[in-house]
């Protein structure tokens, strides 16, 4: 995530101006990255409403703590780190309270339909989103940052505040776990049907 060959003013320059009192600088910086930040929040918490809350928490936090940025990583890495933190924080809170309470068949079907609305996204994205929910949150966050957003393992380690080795092992476990859910999407249907279930038992 290079600052050097990005647009001018650079991310770092915008952040510096914000700290110096420029009222527009932070907005410009945030708008520059907010689509990717939205993607990481949404895929980490798996819920648009919670993701919006997490992203707003993160944005305000970054706005207020900009002076703490030391330039040890790229500004985008720092922003992603704050968003991932806010997202995981949301998930931790959600684990301590009921997510939803539904009462009858109608609610049950509505919930599934909410996931299955074909107008909202492609089937592949829906299947990927559903599969991601199968992962424990820390594994999901690592996989989203590395495989979906394309950060290097080193940057992901900064974003997730874990060691590079832990990034690798979380991603590895996550990929192995997702395999049964995603193999059919790889355009190699017959091979996936015969290989993954038969693992170690035939051929």
């Amino acid at each position: 995530m290079p600052d050097a060959d990005g647009p001018w003013p650079s991310d770092q320059e915008l952040l510096r101006r914000h700290v110096a009192g420029d009222t527009d600088a932070f907005g410009e910086l945030f708008r520059r990255h907010r689509d990717r930040l939205w993607a990481v929040a949404l895929r980490t918490v798996c819920d648009p409403e919670e993701a919006a809350d997490a992203l707003q928490d993160a944005m305000v936090s970054a706005f207020r703590r900009a002076a703490d940025f030391r330039g040890e990583s790229a500004v985008t890495t720092w922003l992603h780190r704050i968003v991932v933190n806010a997202s995981l924080d949301r998930l931790r809170r959600r684990a301590t309270r009921p997510v939803l309470s539904a009462g009858d068949e109608q609610a049950f079907e509505a919930l599934v339909a909410q996931d299955g609305d074909p107008a909202r996204a492609s089937d592949t994205r829906l299947d990927v989103d559903a599969a991601l929910r199968m992962l424990p949150a820390p594994q999901r966050a690592a996989l989203v940052v590395v495989d979906m957003l394309g950060f290097s393992v080193a940057d992901a380690a900064v974003i997730l505040d874990i060691s590079p080795g832990t990034v690798k092992s979380r991603c590895a476990r996550a990929r192995a776990r997702l395999l049964p859910y995603l193999a059919h999407l790889q355009g190699n249907r017959s091979a996936s049907e015969s290989v993954s279930p038969a693992q170690g038992t035939d051929s």
Binding site: T23, F30, R34, A39, L42, D47, P48, D53, Q56, D57, M59, V60, A62, R64, R65, D68, R81, I82, V83, A86, R93, R97, P98, V99, L100, S101, G103, D104, E105, Q106, A107, F108, L111, V112, Q114, G116, V128, A130, R133, M134, L135, P136, M148, G165, K168, S169, C171, A172, R175, A176, L178, L179, P180, Y181, L182, N188, A191, S196, P197, Q199
Partner: protein, 295 residues
């Protein structure tokens, strides 16, 4: 050498297995079509994830963030007038317009069964949830009624200080100890109900693999909800008196389906039930049995 385990292969691909063990894996891969195919599939997982287009930020969220940012700027410029607890969501910027429909719906279907939820869950959370949802609905058009997210974030741990304590000023948003999963280990009446939207496989071996994966994940880390009366009836019909390990809502052949896993003796049994499953009808679409000791 027997075939490689998916986890082992994934670790090998990630560069976590080196030295003699890594060399052995490399040699095996060179001579084993089965494991090479598995290896290709693992590579395909990353490729597939990278190919999924990023979701666009909904306009409502963008507006909300703009409003919150404007409030922050105003507060920074004039902290005296804005006060320490700014309201970043003026009435002009409706909160989450895109979700209002869903809120209305969830309230509507919740109302007739709130009493049942309270009884079944043995606590007050059904009712408190009902009232808090109602409050939130009216608050969605009025600013500041529901503690603003930005003021919440004021005491939020930030990326710069990740260990800095998760203060929780919005006590109204959650009831302590109200988790439907709390103490919900294995019981025919009180079971973990996960909402995943997963497409369950019709192939028994694949279904078994899906269930095994699902059982390895702690239920509390997955999106869940209180099970409906219909789901409870269906679970009871399928599992009988056997302890229920997991219930998960997903899809089967494009239709809503419920996965039920119960400890039915030495082997666990998993059923995928269709939407017609009830206390009197076993609408079983697929089933598989699991090796002992999985759950």
């Amino acid at each position: 050498m027997t075939h490689l385990d998916t986890d082992v292969l994934a670790e090998f691909r990630a560069g976590l297995i080196t030295g003699r063990r890594g060399a052995k894996i490399a040699v095996h891969l060179a001579g084993c079509d089965h494991c090479t195919a598995l290896d290709d599939q693992l590579a395909g997982v990353s490729a597939l994830l990278a190919s999924v287009p990023a979701p666009a930020m909904p306009d409502g969220v963008a507006q909300r963030l703009d409003a919150a940012l404007a409030a922050e700027v105003a507060r920074k410029n004039d902290p005296e007038r804005a006060g320490p607890e700014p309201s970043p969501e003026p009435a002009a910027s409706p909160r989450r317009p895109g979700h209002r429909g869903f809120r209305l719906m969830s309230l509507r279907v919740l109302a007739p069964v709130a009493a049942a939820v309270v009884v079944l869950a043995g606590g007050g959370y059904g009712l408190s949830l009902l009232t808090s949802r109602g409050g939130q609905m009216t608050a969605s058009s009025a600013a500041g009624t529901e503690g603003s997210a930005a003021s919440r974030a004021a005491s939020e741990p930030s990326g710069a200080n990740p260990a800095g304590g998760a203060a929780e000023p919005t006590a109204g948003a959650q009831e302590p100890g109200a988790s439907p999963f709390k103490g919900a280990r294995i019981s025919p009446v009180n079971f973990p109900f996960v909402v995943s939207g997963i497409s369950f496989s019709a192939v028994p071996a694949t279904l078994r693999q899906q269930v095994e994966s699902a059982l390895r994940v702690p239920v509390t880390s997955r999106p869940g909800q209180a099970a409906s009366l219909l789901v409870r009836a269906c679970v009871q019909n399928l599992a009988g008196s056997h302890p229920v390990v997991l219930v998960e809502s997903g899809r089967f052949a494009g239709r809503p389906a419920t996965l039920v896993v119960a400890r039915t003796g030495q082997h666990d049994t998993a059923w995928v039930a269709g939407p017609d499953c009830s206390a009197t009808k076993r609408d079983v679409l697929a089933t598989t049995s699991l090796p002992p000791g999985i759950s």
